[in-house]
């Protein structure tokens, strides 16, 4: 990824690039809504709102942390580890920039930070306390996402090393996947996990979500070219081709294993293909994109199949899809990167090793950082919901609403007494959110 403007002294705006990044920003924003539907459909009815709210609240929480501090940590020059405070509180983020206006770069990159934090929620649905999740992503987006983005994109040590991450395979997907795994292990499995089947309550939501994610991903990868040119076109085409390959391979494996092509499987395949092509989108040939999609299917499929019968409750397979898909994509980028297709180097063993080092560093940093942040959050708010709300479903205890109530049988509480009545009637539930 080319850094749009962060270090520009004078304005050299590219109108075409600016127009495309304006659109791409809205595309990436829509991915968060897509993710809410993707995850929301996969949980049980009684947790539908809570699950979707985790994505939606990220729009607010990370939208602010990123704008006020995270952007500066990622894109100010700073040192090898983290950026400085030059852009803190939106200072020096204005209408001018190198290629695109700085304020647009902040918004575009902000959408990336938001979706990354929202992705983590899939591992802890149906049991994490909502307020703990809000606090967690606030800290995580600043302390983990900001520095990692700096290492890879902001001039930090992984970019110096030569690691290639076109649109965020490492920063977004490996990062979110590993954080999700660690958080799921720390919070523990759902009380019903392994005792009864917990099935998706609305598979059409999941298909809708996967489709919206794919749609948004054209901006995620295409916009990461930071130009309206051939590279952006290549990234967009590759974003079409890799998931196409993943869908076909996933369906064939499904056919041989169970004799049926499943809808939830296909939706998952779309995500795996998108994740795998993310680091490579603007630096590999379209044929290589198809091969990356093909190869990346296998580790994710195998892991997700194993995980469902294990005691590891990464509930919506964030690690299997984003973590492993991201690792496959990052490593294969080192193999298939091509100077003929926009890469600065061509695939080599050396580049593969550089990619491997970057992956390893990201895994260790994300895992350790997530562990520490979750411990800190746990000092203030218990990470986990209590047993009763978990059994009842988190929608009513945490949000005071239900997803599919029919609106009948509700009695009005007069406004003057409503607050008091709410406190009395909720009783032991009032401290659950």
């Amino acid at each position: 990824m080319v850094i749009g403007n962060a270090f520009a002294q004078e304005s050299t705006l590219d109108p075409a690039a600016t127009a495309w990044i304006l659109v791409s920003t809205a595309f990436v924003f829509l991915m968060v809504i897509g993710l809410a539907f993707f995850y929301g459909g996969l949980v049980r009815r009684k947790n539908a709102l809570n699950t979707m709210m985790m994505s939606f609240v990220s729009l607010g929480v990370v939208g602010l942390t990123w704008s006020l501090l995270g952007y500066s940590f990622a894109y100010d020059v700073g040192n090898w580890f983290v950026g400085g405070f030059k852009f803190a509180f939106l200072n020096h983020v204005g209408l001018t920039g190198d290629g695109v206006p700085a304020i647009l770069d902040l918004a575009f990159q902000g959408a990336f930070a938001i979706i990354t934090a929202a992705l983590i929620s899939g591992a802890v649905v149906e049991r994490m306390r909502f307020s703990a999740f809000m606090l967690f992503i606030a800290l995580w987006s600043l302390v983990i996402y900001g520095p990692l983005a700096h290492w890879v994109w902001g001039g930090g040590f992984l970019s110096t090393l030569g690691a290639i991450d076109f649109a965020g395979g490492t920063v977004v997907h490996i990062n979110a996947g590993v954080a999700a795994l660690v958080l799921a292990l720390m919070i523990g499995k759902r009380r019903d996990y392994g005792k009864k089947a917990m099935l998706p309550h609305q598979v059409p939501f999941t298909l809708l979500g996967a489709g919206l994610l794919w749609f948004g991903w054209f901006g995620f990868n295409g916009g990461s070219a930071y130009a309206a040119d051939g590279i952006a076109s290549l990234a967009l085409a590759n974003t079409l081709l890799a998931p196409a390959a993943t869908i076909v391979i996933w369906a064939i494996i499904d056919l041989f294993r169970v004799g049926k092509v499943t809808a939830v499987g296909l939706a998952t395949a779309v995500i795996v293909g998108l994740v795998a092509i993310t680091p490579a989108a603007g630096v590999v040939s379209p044929l290589a994109a198809i091969i990356i999609g093909l190869i990346a299917t296998f580790p994710s499929y195998a892991f997700i199949t194993w995980r469902g019968n294990s005691s590891l409750d990464d509930s919506l397979d964030v690690f299997g899809a984003h973590g492993l898909g991201g690792i496959s994509g990052a490593l294969l980028t080192g193999v298939f990167v091509s100077t003929a297709w926009g890469g600065e180097v061509s695939g080599s063993f050396n580049q593969f090793i550089i990619q491997l080092v970057a992956v390893g560093v990201a895994i260790v940093f994300s895992a350790l950082g997530t562990f520490i942040i979750a411990r800190i959050v746990g000092l203030f708010v218990p990470l986990r919901a209590e047993e009763k709300p978990e059994e009842q479903g988190l929608d009513v205890p945490m949000h005071g609403e239900e997803a599919y109530g029919d609106g009948e049988g509700a009695l009005l509480i007069p406004i003057s007494t409503s607050t008091k009545a709410a406190q009395v009637a909720t009783g032991n539930l009032e401290n659950q959110s």
Binding site: K46, G409, A425
Partner: protein, 117 residues
């Protein structure tokens, strides 16, 4: 023959069903119902509107059984549906005058699924 009608918590259905099946009780009708059983009202808020939900979603089970299965069925439901809080539900045991199995025309004890071996 008796008709056992039970109203239980939604989230307990899986546990009740699993245990009923393990005890050979297979003929069950499940209905989603709403009711009020004296439990604490849920208070919900939609924008500025705070409401007390007077009705709670419940599951109703209807199970036709022969006499030897009545106690077993009731015991299973009592154990698996109980959480100890208000709102666990009720079990009604009613006499049944006549039962027909539509597929075969069998009557009474032959028409009820838990067959005594």
């Amino acid at each position: 023959m008796k008709l056992i009608t039970a109203v239980i918590r939604k989230e307990r259905l899986n546990y009740v069903l699993t245990e009923l099946f393990e005890n050979g009780i297979h003929g069950i009708t499940v209905t989603q119902v709403q009711g009020h059983g004296g439990e604490t009202e849920k208070v919900e808020t939609y924008r500025g509107l705070t409401v007390k939900m007077g009705l709670t979603e419940k599951i109703r089970l209807d199970i036709g059984v022969t006499e030897p299965f009545v106690d077993k069925t009731v015991d299973v439901i009592l154990q698996t549906a109980r959480t100890g809080d208000v709102g666990d539900g009720k079990i009604f045991v009613l006499p049944v005058e006549k039962v027909y199995r539509i597929r075969t025309g069998e009557e009474d004890a032959e028409a009820v699924t838990p067959v005594l071996n």
